[in-house]
């Protein structure tokens, strides 16, 4: 594991940050507000706390596989056969997830930007870029992340400043109208966005240069992303109100359309779409890279690069198949996602940890017997 690509710690934070906000900034407000109503912003804060707890758990778990990939760890804990089976399930999850994201890109562009262009062309082009991203590896992606981070932060700052005149804080009133229940209900549907997606970042762990700082860096990246999602949801509520947010496909996009400062600064929706494109590119490229690593490992290939183009083809068609229409994806995210992603993000890692602890105890027990 010596000749592996290495990324610096601030590059790691950047990647985590971009990964966290990718896709969530456009979808999350809608899903949260669906049940959370006026108090959705509280839900987002609650989710952030739970997400950080989850990250702390991941850091604890990651201590057991220090310099190795997560899938290697799965196999050392569960043995070669069961381990390979679980790894295969993970692989399927990765493929499904990345094709969902790709389908989202297609849906978004073809419903708000260019309506006449066939969705296959849009997704195909995007898939091509992602293949390039994955092909050049994690180091290149990390440097790209460093390059686009200032742009994204600048765009966010502009957006939030320009949105202030449109925001009406009284739309958040009354706070806790129906008690705590809707908050928990909406937390259940929205926790998966983006916190149950974080475990995919395990593929980055062996690449980080200074391992001792890795845990804190992960926490920082997720926290920054969570804060951005909080502000986006808060502004969506203050600008559009809860009904207005819940009834739109892309509330954050519509929200930026309302910006009009002195009739000169208008039509800033391109700001948001550029943020979204850049972040989702980083996200899908990372996942795609992860897929190729998994396949390389599962089938004992020499290089992960040979599988990229065929994988791209699979991804292109599975994403078309996965989102036959706009609402299908939303329903999937709102109903199934928490359980499906939860299995891979929480349940299996917890099982692994439990198995390892039991194994250690057994060893200790054996040592006792031998003494």
């Amino acid at each position: 594991m010596d000749n592996i690509e290495k990324i610096r710690i601030n590059q790691f934070v950047t990647l985590v940050f971009l990964y966290t906000i990718g896709s969530s900034i456009l979808i999350a407000p809608n899903v949260v507000v669906m049940y959370g109503k006026n108090d959705a912003w509280i839900t987002v804060l609650l989710n952030l706390c739970m997400g950080l707890l989850l990250v702390a758990f991941y850091n604890k778990l990651a201590q057991s596989f220090e310099q190795n990939y997560y899938f290697e760890y799965v196999q050392t804990v569960l043995g070669p056969w069961l381990g390979k089976f679980i790894s295969f399930l993970y692989l399927l999850f990765f493929i499904l997830f990345s094709s969902l994201l790709l389908g989202e890109v297609g849906d978004f562009i073809s419903s708000v930007v260019i309506k006449d262009t066939p969705i296959e062309a849009i997704i195909g082009l995007f898939a091509l870029i992602i293949i390039f991203g994955a092909k050049y590896g994690i180091e290149t992606l990390a440097r790209t992340g460093e390059l686009i981070l200032p742009i994204i932060i600048l765009l966010f700052v502009f957006l939030f400043i320009f949105l202030i005149p449109q925001a009406k804080p009284e739309k958040l009133l009354p706070i806790l109208e129906n008690g705590i229940k809707p908050i928990l209900r909406s937390s259940y549907t929205s926790l998966g966005l983006p916190y149950f997606e974080l475990f995919i970042l395990f593929i980055l762990f062996p690449h980080v240069k200074s391992q001792e700082k890795r845990g804190k860096a992960l926490l920082l990246g997720v926290f920054m992303g969570g804060v951005i999602i909080f502000f986006i949801t808060l502004f969506a509520l203050m600008v559009l109100g809860n009904e207005g947010t819940a009834r739109l496909h892309f509330p954050t996009y519509t929200m930026t359309k309302t910006i009009s400062i002195a009739k000169i600064i208008e039509r800033l929706e391109a700001f948001l779409s550029s943020i979204w494109f850049l972040t989702i590119f980083m996200k899908v490229s990372l996942i795609f890279h992860g897929i190729s690593l998994y396949i390389k490992h599962l089938f004992q290939l020499k290089s992960n690069k040979v599988v990229l183009y065929p994988l791209g083809m699979i991804l292109l068609f599975s994403s078309l198949y996965m989102s036959p229409n706009v609402i299908h994806l939303r329903e999937f995210v709102a109903r199934t996602w928490i359980l499906y992603a939860g299995t891979f993000a929480v349940l299996i890692p917890m099982l692994l940890m439990a198995v390892e602890i039991i194994k250690k105890r057994k060893k200790r027990g054996m040592q006792h017997v031998q003494k």
Partner: protein, 383 residues
């Protein structure tokens, strides 16, 4: 090397330009959309389209030709009517520069929500489009030439942007209209555009309840209701003189602030409406010195009295005549006293007319422009 050349050639093949490009002179720029309902219940859409060729001419005393054309089509839905334009127009109908949307009277009374749905979904329309209503049909309105400006839609747009100084800082654009429609009382406002001797004129405001037109207000009433919503930032108050009630002192509002708070004691709701108006004196007909402490005080009192009277009559109108909560009271109770709201929610329609509003108006005259006192009246001085 060979690979690179092949790649470049393939890329060149695909990058010949946008396959669905549209040149500016292939577009029909729609400046205003009017939507009516015919007697048979069909949608009638009228577009005001700019004629770009006319812009260059005219100044040098050329033939007087309208700089716009209006075209009308009917259909079962708004999209159906629009489809006729797409099918018959020699140029691509482009809505990106549209400035305003007018709803005709029959459609307004029947409900505009269906038309609004099209407006929200259609490509190109901006959220900053102004929403208008009219007592006539939209078709008639869009055909009228505005006089000094070439395109009526642009003229009305400029006019409405200036209005906040004189009426209220409230311009019902598309996003504001929809936002108000989804508020608790479902009341939204649209500017009322009518004709006066074949001239376009802004008559006031049309009030929509749940997408249906329920009432027209004139410009003065518009100012009064906007006072309650804290949107008035300008306007004129005429105070009658003490010595001759037919003469007036003009008080020009520079800034106004309204706060409205509910107070609930048991089953009784009281609203406290506080208005603070600042302004200057723009002129007096009273023919006497006005810049004394007492006179200023008197004038301020007079202004407050008039504002209070006007607002009170507006509230009375809403509670007793219209019997509709156009004042946003329900939402204020819900937001500020969420615990009390369920008590009134069920029979709000009965509770609303009985609500008492306590109005306190404080107005202050800050300046009086360049002049302290008016030109002295010689005849009076002789006496």
């Amino acid at each position: 090397m060979k690979k690179k050349v092949a790649l470049i050639i393939t890329i060149i093949l695909f990058l010949t330009g946008c396959w669905d490009k549209t040149e500016v002179d292939d577009l029909a720029m729609v400046m205003a959309i009017g939507i009516d309902l015919t007697e048979k219940g069909r949608y009638e859409v009228t577009l005001q389209v700019a004629k770009p060729g006319v812009f260059g001419k005219g100044e040098n005393g050329g033939a007087k030709e309208d700089a716009f054309v209006t075209v009308t089509n009917q259909g079962k839905t708004v999209s159906d009517a629009m489809m006729q334009f797409y099918a018959t127009s020699p140029r691509r109908v482009y809505l990106g520069h549209n400035k305003m949307i007018i709803f005709g009277r029959r459609l307004s009374e029947k409900g505009i929500k269906d038309a609004l749905d099209w407006i929200e979904r259609v490509e190109g329309l901006r959220f900053s489009n102004y929403i208008f209503t009219t007592p006539n049909t939209a078709k008639e309105i869009l055909k009228i030439n505005y006089g000094i400006e070439k395109i009526p839609a642009l003229a009305i747009q400029s006019n409405i942007r200036l209005r906040y100084k004189y009426i209220a800082k409230f311009t019902p654009t598309m996003n504001v209209f929809i936002d108000r429609l989804m508020s608790h009382n479902k009341v939204s406002f649209a500017t009322n555009l009518g004709t006066e001797q074949n001239n376009l004129e802004i008559l006031g405001t049309g009030i929509y309840k749940d997408g249906r037109l329920i009432q027209y207000l004139n410009n003065k009433q518009t100012q009064d209701i906007m006072r309650i919503y804290n949107h008035v930032k300008g306007g004129l108050i005429l105070v009658p003189c003490k010595n001759n009630p037919k003469n007036y002192t003009s008080f020009d509002i520079l800034d106004e602030k309204t706060t409205l708070t509910p107070e609930i004691k048991g089953k009784k709701i009281t609203f406290h409406l506080n208005i603070e108006a600042n302004g200057i004196i723009e002129g007096t007909q009273c023919g006497e010195k006005i810049m004394t402490k007492e006179k200023i005080h008197q004038l301020e009192k007079g202004v407050s009295k008039i504002i209070e009277k006007r607002v009170r009559s507006m509230i009375h109108f809403s509670q007793k005549e219209l019997k509709t909560d156009i004042l946003n009271y329900a939402e204020l109770i819900k937001k500020k006293e969420p615990g009390e709201w369920p008590k009134f929610e069920k029979n709000w329609d009965k509770v609303f007319p009985t609500i008492e509003t306590k109005i306190v108006v404080k107005s202050s005259i800050k300046r009086s422009s360049w002049v302290k006192d008016p030109i002295p009246n010689k005849e009076k001085n002789k006496r």
